[in-house]
């Protein structure tokens, strides 16, 4: 039944990753002879590690913020009041906005001559470097905003279908609102939260457009590095671009694997 969907998916993923891996190892050169080599990795090891650290930091911070706000929003949505319905509609609308548009919006909002600085009457020289600054705050803000809406909808879906009656049962056993969140809602929402957060993390790790638009030129995250090298006028940079892409993919697989390994150990998953 799933074979028609599985075959093209495996072909694209395995083919894409395999081609990138072969290119990064000199086995699929655009010019010159085929020669196995790890030069694309070792020759730029320092840059790769710096880019990896930056990518992980951006993805981790924005995912944690998105998870906290996403769970909070999900609880308000499940609460069923009018503000919950507004939040659900806002979250659904937010998810449909492309990241590139979101990045441009955040840029216009947070730049030193942006809407926020003008509304608050802060001159550009006194406005903190949110866009293109050393702490990548605009990048983190954009990812956190967009991914919090995604996490909120996934977690709210789980809470609404599975948890509402459990919440009542817990209340009648004397659990306060906080205790119900701590001992019932959160454990039951954990698989959905873990999976949606992992998706958000992996997406943030692998996407380039927001960091490319709102971040600094150096150091650069892995995805931006891969794009820059791929678009380089020198065709010999292609293996290095592929090395950055392969490293991103490996880390993503590791994160996804760790998430499922942890989930399989929970009572709920069993």
């Amino acid at each position: 039944m799933v074979l028609p969907a599985l075959v093209p998916a495996v072909f694209v993923v395995a083919g894409g990753v395999g081609a990138a891996a072969m290119q990064s190892l000199g086995l699929m050169p655009l010019v010159g002879p085929v020669r196995f080599s790890a030069d694309a990795y070792t020759g730029q090891a320092e840059d790769l590690f710096r880019a990896l650290g930056l990518s992980l930091a951006i993805a981790a911070v924005s995912t944690v913020i998105a998870a906290v706000f996403g769970v909070g929003t999900a609880l308000l949505i499940v609460g069923g009041r009018w503000c919950g319905r507004i939040l659900a509609a806002t979250s659904a609308a937010t998810v449909t906005i492309p990241h590139l548009i979101g990045a441009a919006t955040v840029g216009l909002l947070l730049a030193d001559s942006g809407v926020l600085a003008r509304v608050l009457g802060v001159p550009p020289e006194l406005w903190p470097s949110l866009v293109g600054g050393p702490w990548w705050l605009a990048v983190v803000a954009e990812y956190a905003w967009k991914e919090s809406a995604f996490i909120a909808l996934i977690v709210a879906g789980t809470l609404i279908t599975r948890v509402a009656r459990f919440d009542e049962a817990a209340a009648l056993l004397g659990a306060t609102r906080w205790m119900r969140f701590r001992f019932v809602m959160l454990p039951l929402a954990l698989p959905a939260l873990a999976i949606s957060s992992t998706i958000a993390f992996v997406y943030t790790l692998g996407s380039y457009e927001v960091a490319w638009l709102l971040g600094r030129t150096y150091p650069e995250p892995l995805a931006v590095m891969a794009l820059r090298l791929f678009n380089s006028v020198s065709l010999t940079a292609r293996p290095e671009a592929a090395a950055a892409a392969v490293l991103t993919t490996l880390v993503s697989f590791l994160v996804v694997g760790a998430c499922f390994w942890a989930l399989r150990k929970t009572a709920l998953w069993r």
Binding site: E168, A170, A171, L172, L173, F183, P187, L188, A267, R270
Partner: protein
């Protein structure tokens, strides 16, 4: 410690609905007693429990527990336990931790709360099941754990919202016995919602019959069967026999004849009701009717398990239904004498307007 529950003119309307779920319900449940709330689906019986538990706010009236109006008290602070139709065991906790939940959220250590929980696990006869996952339990075991979990919170009032309706008859009998054991051991005030007359009679001291959001009668089990307050109650209790006539000086006069009725029955139009289980049917006979009996002809005999239901026809198309014990020899067309015991005869007012349902709606029990 069991507690008294009183509802005073409680009404409840959901949202902008035109039809209230509850209308002026007043009910008194004494401490330590067991009351069954009986009614058809959608009659508002579960809403009564949710209002008492604090899961719904009343639109009017008040809920009083041990003399205190609990209207402004949150569900978690009312000291009222509830078991739902679905057990709602927390799937991320073991059986023992489910039962220990109330102690745990109350601030007890994991060890102390588990020790406390073990007593209740033993009480529901699942002593060795503590370490199991709740997914490894059968339906009956799940409901036992749900009851133990509710009891472990030491509620003064235990609300049971059709907790046994999904169980098969044998398991349901086991659960009724368990409820009896729990009443002996813990003596909580129990309010049980059910649509099953047999279940209500088996476990409760009193039954409150509700329909269309109105409380029709709250009385002992015997009175509800033999002295229904209205034709609606008679039908909801499974009454099959309704004979229109007039009461004159302690006798109900109808095409059936003159039947003695309780002494305090007022004169005037009235419907005679009598349980089919209470009517005594003679074997086929040519003898005259006994003093409190009538003569008719068997028009139909139907089997219900070991028992049979006999329909006896009278003048003017009148029919009486009677339940026969196994082995009685009657057959279609034979002349029989029916004895109507005075203690089982009752007269209810002729309803104004239509009465929903039919006599004996639901299979005879």
């Amino acid at each position: 410690m069991s507690r008294t529950v009183s509802l005073h003119e409680v009404s409840k309307t959901f949202g902008a609905s035109q039809h209230p779920a509850l209308t002026g319900v007043s009910l008194e449940v004494p401490a330590g007693s067991c009351t069954a709330i009986l009614g058809p689906s959608g009659s508002g019986k579960s809403t009564i429990l949710r209002v008492i538990a604090g899961l719904e706010r009343v639109s009017a009236g008040k809920v009083v527990v041990d003399g205190t109006d609990v209207g402004g008290i949150a569900a978690e602070k009312r000291g009222i336990g509830m078991v739902f139709q679905r057990p709602l065991l927390f799937p991320h906790l073991s059986v023992l931790d489910n039962i220990a939940f109330s102690q745990r959220v109350g601030g007890a250590s994991r060890v102390a709360s588990r020790r406390h929980a073990q007593h209740y696990l033993d009480l529901v006869q699942l002593g060795g099941f503590g370490a199991r996952s709740v997914q490894a339990l059968s339906g009956g075991q799940e409901q036992r754990v749900a009851i133990a979990r509710a009891l472990a919170a030491a509620p003064g009032v235990l609300l049971l919202d059709e907790p046994f309706s999904a169980l098969d008859p044998a398991l349901r009998d086991d659960m009724h016995e368990l409820l009896d054991d729990i009443r002996r051991a813990e003596a909580p005030t129990i309010i049980l919602v059910t649509h099953d007359r047999d279940e209500a009679s088996a476990v409760a001291d009193n039954i409150a019959v509700i329909d269309g959001g109105e409380l029709l009668q709250h009385d002992t089990v015997d009175h509800l069967y033999n002295r229904p307050a209205s034709i609606r109650v008679s039908r909801l209790m499974g009454g099959l026999n309704e004979i229109e006539g007039t009461v004159q000086a302690g006798m109900h006069v109808s095409p059936l004849g003159r039947v003695p009725v309780p002494a305090n029955t007022p004169d005037g139009p009235g419907i005679l009701v009598i349980r089919h289980e209470a009517i005594e049917v003679s074997p086929c006979t040519e003898a005259a009717a006994p003093p409190s009996g009538v003569i008719g002809h068997v028009s139909r005999v139907r089997r219900f398990g070991p028992r049979r239901m006999v329909s006896v026809a009278f003048r003017g198309g009148l029919l009486l239904h009677a339940a026969l014990p196994p082995g009685d020899a009657v057959r279609d067309g034979c002349r029989v004498s029916l004895t109507l015991p005075p203690q089982a005869v009752s007269v209810v007012a002729v309803p104004i307007g239509p009465v929903f349902g039919e006599p004996g709606s639901g299979a005879p029990r």
